[in-house]
Amino acid sequence: MTDAGQPLAIALEGCSKTFPDGTRALEPLDLAIHAGETVVFLGPSGCGKTTTLRIIAGLEEPDAGGKVLFDGVDVTRLPIEQRNVGMVFQSYALFPNMTVAGNIGYGLKIRKVPHAQIKARVSEMLAMMQITRLADRRIDQLSGGQRQRVALARAIAVRPRALLLDEPLTALDAKLRDTLRLEIDSLLRSLGITAIYVTHDQAEAMALGDRIVVMEHGRVAQIGRPREIYQRPATRFVAEFIGTMNRLTGSVSNGTFSCQAGSLAWPEAPTGATEILFRPEDIRVAEGHETTGLQGKVAAAFFLGDRTRLFVEVGEAQPLVIESTARRDFSHGDAVGLAIDPRGLLVL
């Protein structure tokens, strides 16, 4: 659709960040981002994801010793205006003193591109983001979703070597977020550009990332493809931050895990495990007269149409979450048998 030049490989070497007040925002971090891939930094607020993005962008300098490499070239001391990276801000940062077209063309104007070429490129961007009719609007006349499109168009117009997006959808309502997420995904694929996307929303991370970097307290908790992160979380933090995780405490003996709710055959059980974790989709409610080793009582049931979300009391601190597709009613206090697929069990 549009040429963005050769995609850029980005590397961080020993980048840490300590703010003047002494707060350590980022522990020393090594990270390699391949040319053309979309990497999502995911984590709760204050985990260092935005700081990392800002170091890559050139808006923050890493502590002494840290290095930022673009295609192997050290750019650590280069300010953002010389790095040729496109950036989309959470608050959009659109210039209120310019029209939509003025915003999109600004980067080209700064680069002293001839007027006719700017005009052509701006039209192309407007068409690509389907906002041609908004070209002459002022920024305060746009809705949130329109602003987001303008911000994307503006960042892409200059053909940056990489696109950096800092929680670009956080300020939008849920429905719009879903639509724009799809658009951003197809945009990044068609551009083939290296993209770094910061979010605290795990659904966004799963949908967009080729790889996800999960961060916690200024450290990387896990790096991996979305499926790996979800199915094989490296730490309890990752397991619980992404998706829903059920937990049972008990003990293992002779290939059986026993807990308050009963017991579960688990031939490959590691010895000494006292706690098992599993996703809602790996547990189901027993049907008919099927006998299972685990029993619980329905604490709450929410019929969602395609499935019923059950909260089942099993004598643990937290009830188990079960997504049941069974064609039956559940009500508070129902005794249910539970079956767990041992392949989904995790010990962390």
Binding site: A57, F95, N97, Y106
Partner: protein, 268 residues
């Protein structure tokens, strides 16, 4: 019925207050156009006094205009960058600086003027030039420019806007020119009108700072009141009024908050 009488009571009171404020102004202006103030309007209307003011005090008018424009130039050059720095670096030092800037407004003008004379009075070339008055006026009006621009800069997310421009390749000067200045235009305009108006009308400080050759309009006005016919003094007021009124009206227009242009979220 009770509500009606309350309404008329309020209306009456409002009109009374208005009259209290406006009547002296009108009377003074009329006095400047009357042949003989003590005889009253029956003595006829004349532009003689206005012409007399024009002939005798023309220089003070030009000096005041020149002074206020010079004052505007200096406060723009000093005030806008100061406001920018104060807006960008919010720490204990800049907060202290911001408060210090307001001091010349709080301290009586006479005291400031005296301090200036004590400090620079010895430099006779400087002491006798209109630049001496300019220094006083700048001291007095700078806080108004800084505050006005700062208020606008604090209301926008300046840091992110600049980061946005930087991400598109704009260095410091292009950013300042294309993003910072246009976005604090309202503040600069409001501040400018304030500075010109205040400089034009400043008497306190100027009275001490002026020399017989550097009389400003308000100083000339005091002079006329003290030594000439009341009609001349009033005609002088009229001239001042005609000069300052358009400025004040413009100030009002710019100080008005911009109407919020809310556009409903369109279907995406």
């Amino acid at each position: 019925m009770k509500r009606r009488s309350l309404f008329y009571l309020q209306l009456g009171f409002t009109l009374l207050v208005c009259a209290f404020l406006v009547v002296p102004v009108i009377l003074s202006m009329m006095a400047g156009l009357t042949v003989n103030y003590f005889v009253g309007i029956e003595s006829g209307l004349t532009l003689r006094w206005v012409m007399e003011v024009w002939n005798g005090y023309r220089d003070t008018i030009f000096l005041s205009i020149g002074l206020s424009l010079a004052c505007l130039a200096v406060t723009l050059v000093l005030g806008v960058p100061t406001a920018y720095v104060l807006a960008k670096r919010q720490n204990a030092l800049t907060r202290t600086l911001e408060e210090m800037l307001v001091l010349p407004v709080a301290v009586p003008g006479l005291a400031t003027a005296l301090a200036l004379i004590v400090t620079y009075g010895g430099l006779s070339g400087f002491r006798t030039s209109w630049a001496f008055i300019l220094v006083g006026h700048v001291l007095f009006t700078l806080p108004f420019m800084v505050r006005s621009v700062l208020a606008v800069l604090s209301a926008i997310d300046l840091k992110t806007l600049e980061e946005g421009a930087a991400s598109l390749g704009a260095g410091f000067w292009p950013r300042f020119r294309d993003i910072v200045l246009p976005n604090c235009r309202q503040g600069i305009l409001a501040g400018s009108l304030m500075v010109v108006t205040l400089s034009m009308g400043e008497f306190n400080m100027t009275w001490l700072l002026h020399t017989p050759f550097t009389k400003t309009l308000p100083v000339g006005l005091a002079d006329a009141y003290a030594s000439l016919r009341l009609e001349v003094g009033s005609a002088y007021t009229l001239v001042f009024f005609l000069m300052i009124m358009p400025l004040l009206l413009a100030l009002q227009a710019f100080a008005k908050p911009r109407p919020a242009k809310f556009v409903a979220e369109e279907a995406e």
